[in-house]
Symmetry: C2
Subunit: 438 residues, 2 copies
């Protein structure tokens, strides 16, 4: 029959490929737990309507849709936030706030496959719901930074670009580009990197040029210091209450990041807009600092989403970090391979007729917490020892006719090369000690 392949954009993760991803999961989970986040899980199958109303157009276009046996329209989860908002809205009054949750779902997007973009991928999601404190924004960024640090990445490898949709909006508003037009302005700014400068300028001038010069705006969006930016905008366009409040909020997030000891990783970058529809305040992206300049992670504050899904508005901030770009970044810096932390003990039988005894010893070692291997079929001892070597065994237990009479075995520590006879009872009572691998 014709060979069936893996679907394009999906991955067959053999143990060798999955091991580094497991290490990423472990780093994500450990950082989440240390920072007080609790793990939850949401369904992969959701009603299509959840995304129709809550996600940006780009994501809706990429949805995997299906119809269940009752004719209802479903979609495979392309992002976590709508499900999270749905779950929180359903129990909003029973849940103590702030809610600090994380999860590591597999997500699905029917997008064009390219390096760093797949149709099935894992994504770490971290969210705080029920606090409008800038310390919450900073803590969410902090947990992301700490997870990457635990994977061996430093401020040499990545940086966090912090922006604020509210501050950009306040600048636009001070320049008389009001609410209804801002989406168009964002869309242009977001495409700035992908458009020819002339083309961008022409499009901007056509719509907004008379009110706010693109060059001036871009200079402001390049500011590295919030208070000087506010002064400059205020001086040119007149200070507004919203401009003051949004600047203060941005400063607070930056200060909180410094207080958490991760100021070195972070910089103001108002060129970050974030494509998704629901952000309302501070937003951020983690960037690969190499020439590739890939975004590793993106998130921000979305204070309006819960109100749209339930009865009650709740402030919220969070991010998503996928495994695909992160794996590429780790690989580029030789940090992807995880040290094999297995400590395999191999049990061999030197002659026929010891299979039952071998199985008893194997099961006993495993129950005592040792990762233990053996051959399913009795073979020449030399062959078994080569298998032990292939498994990367740290110690070998050899059962033979002679030692059996004394209810004992030979143990060989492969690191030190030492060999000795021990009783089976003492081996099973304290394997690490008996094998010298404590």
């Amino acid at each position: 029959m014709a060979k069936i392949q893996a679907v394009k954009g999906t991955r067959d993760l053999y143990p060798e490929q999955f091991r580094p991803i497991r290490r990423i999961f472990d780093a994500w989970r450990r950082a989440s737990e240390l920072h007080g986040f609790e793990e939850f899980e949401s369904p992969t199958l959701e009603y299509l309507d959840l995304y129709r109303e809550k996600s940006g157009d780009e994501l809706v276009g990429q949805l995997y849709r299906l119809t269940d046996s009752g004719g209802r329209e479903l979609a495979l989860q392309p992002e976590m936030t709508p499900s999270l908002a749905r779950m929180v809205a359903a129990k909003i009054n029973a849940l103590p706030k702030p809610i600090k949750w994380f999860c590591i779902p597999k997500l699905f997007r029917g997008e064009n496959v390219q390096r760093g973009r797949l149709r099935e991928f894992f994504q770490w999601n971290v969210d705080v719901i029920g606090s409008d404190s800038s310390i919450a924004d900073a803590e969410v960024i902090l947990v992301g930074i700490e997870a990457l640090r635990n994977l061996g990445l430093t401020a040499e490898h990545f940086s966090v670009h912090v922006s604020n949709r509210r501050l950009i909006a306040a600048i636009l508003a001070a320049g008389k580009i009001e609410d209804g037009e801002q989406a168009g302005a964002y869309a242009l700014l977001d495409k700035a990197g992908k458009m020819k400068p002339d083309e961008l300028a022409a499009k901007w001038n056509e719509k907004f040029g008379e009110r706010l010069a693109l060059e001036q705006l871009r200079e402001w969006l390049s500011a590295r210091d919030v208070s000087r930016l506010a002064e400059s905008v205020g001086g040119a366009l007149g200070m507004t209450e919203e401009l003051e409040a949004a600047s203060a909020q941005t400063s607070d997030v930056m200060s909180a990041l410094s207080a958490f000891g991760v100021g070195d990783f972070c910089q103001l970058d108002l060129k970050i807009v974030r494509g998704l529809a629901y952000y309302t305040g501070p937003v951020f992206e983690f960037f690969d600092k190499s020439q590739n300049e890939r975004a590793i992670c993106g998130g921000g504050r979305y204070d309006d989403l819960l109100g749209k899904l339930g009865k009650q508005k709740e402030p919220a901030v969070g991010f998503g970090m996928g495994d695909v770009v992160l794996s590429l970044l780790l690989e580029d810096h030789g940090l992807l391979a995880s040290p094999d932390r297995r400590r395999i003990v191999f049990v061999a039988d030197a002659t026929d007729g010891l299979r039952s005894e071998l199985q008893r010893v194997v099961a006993g070692l495993r129950r005592a917490g040792m990762q233990t291997e053996f051959n399913y079929v009795q073979q020449a001892l030399g062959k078994q020892l080569r298998h032990a070597d292939k498994h990367g065994a740290v110690a070998v237990v050899i059962l033979g006719d002679e030692t059996r009479e004394r209810n004992a075995c030979q143990v060989k520590n492969l690191a030190s090369g030492t060999s000795k006879e021990v009783s089976i009872d003492s081996l099973l009572a304290d394997p690490a000690a008996a094998l010298g691998i404590a």
Copy 2:
């Protein structure tokens, strides 16, 4: 707007509900690793054809189908084995054998929702490919037993029913019910529990009664001892080579289970047939021993599947164990709730103006490996201490104006009730010692 619900048959797993499932995952993963199995991951989206040809009719009818943007027919993974076989077939010559792999995918079946059956569920899969040794069959069963033992279940709670499709086939063949008719005989036997005895007898007699009396067959299938069974069948119908070989194989599996020290959990039960199309030899089910008698796990040997998917036939044995029935079983025995192993440290600021210092201490404690919580907003100390209590904190660190002058803080161990002043430096250098929670 109308509230959007979770899709029927899916679960919103809030942290409280997910914690016990995480504990199950941890037990599955730990047992797998101790027994030398390596974790892999396969895509959720597969081509529909993978299941059309490889799965039983029941599963194919329950598939969630979808069409990708290129018009190709896809399905959501309803079981792991076809994907595993596809992945192994693709690298059959490069992979050292025996292949010992496990995984914990989320699977999807559009079946009728009932207690113990959902449309989205997690399933632990364990497989050995490339060995026809009965020790491999036994090891697969062993790892399942050990995972359940680690969750607190004993031989009081569950038992493993071991059968052998090959032995049943040999008995039928000895009774002149040949290959082509056996599928019909299996189907009848598999439904025995769900049919009225009269109805079953009538259907059997119509097709097979003249060659093999149903009563006689059912007596044989109730045998608890393989060698006596073989004698009895051989005496009545004549001994065949296949009957001898299949009996020996069955005995070997039972002996290997005893040698592994888990004979107490296991019993011969040839009434187990297993619905799926691909089993070729020993098969088994783990049963809840309570009145519910639910199957917790099922699996067996499937030596023909790899040959159907690739060029090369390879012997294989494995099982799947879902989280849903297992959770119900653990719940019934009060074993579901996992002890909260978190050791939260709570950091409080007694006065205004210490927020930055508090954030520095929080970040430092977390970097030193302590799970640390604090309030995003400064509040009265009494209120903060009540929050510490709600979080189940084991220790509280209190920053105040007076201690700050000495670059110190108060630490309070909530178990012992003792309180003392320590320097911030020594707290961050060795938090467990400073907090007395080592």
